[in-house]
Symmetry: C2
Subunit: 120 residues, 2 copies
């Protein structure tokens, strides 16, 4: 598929997809005329990238992480270096703290919403 369709199917802008490629997160074949052509699995890949972005990982770290995934996405499947494992473990811990903080914030919102609803 071409970039517009991929954008439509993932909800990610065309601009962002080109950015992902520039950052080495996404690969594409090129047509004779130079237009990007994506395989079907690019859809899942893009969604995963978005999730990792949302989790606060920067593109550089995502670029290191993706080839180490056990996931059969056609990539070269390199192995994680010990340094990367250390970094990813730190990220995982950060995500754990993030989830805990989110739960707190959610409770705050819930409380305000419930209080307001009670007063109506």
């Amino acid at each position: 598929m071409r970039i517009g369709e991929l954008a439509g199917r993932t909800g990610v802008s065309v601009r962002s997809l080109r950015y992902y490629e520039a950052q080495g997160l996404l690969v594409s074949e090129r047509s004779t005329g130079g237009q990007r052509e994506y395989a079907e699995r690019a859809v899942d890949r893009v969604i995963l990238i978005q999730e990792l972005f949302a989790a606060g990982l920067h593109s550089k770290k995502i670029a290191q992480l993706l080839p180490c995934m056990r996931d059969p996405d056609g990539g070269p499947n390199e192995r994680a270096t010990p340094e990367l494992v250390v970094e990813l473990t730190a990220e995982r811990d950060r995500i754990d703290r993030m989830i805990a903080d989110l739960a707190t914030s959610r409770a705050v919102l819930d409380d305000v919403i419930a209080t307001a609803a009670r007063e109506l």
Copy 2:
């Protein structure tokens, strides 16, 4: 306490504390010389603000939310407008999706880490 102490006790930079005040998230008395003086409860307030930031809320929405909290923090304790309730409900839903996404990302990291550890 003065701004430096508040910064130290919350782990938030002096710069950020002044920013919070400019955004209407934090209030302070002023000394005769014009220096900010904070009450004890400012500590919890700042920590809460940080959590809400981490949850992806923007300062404007936090400024609307804070006075509607049931929390006895000395604020005027206004009541949430129906429009605000709608917005906060949307934020809460967004946080729920965010937590779910984070769980996915965490699992991805976990998998890579576990795979790497197994190969060592």
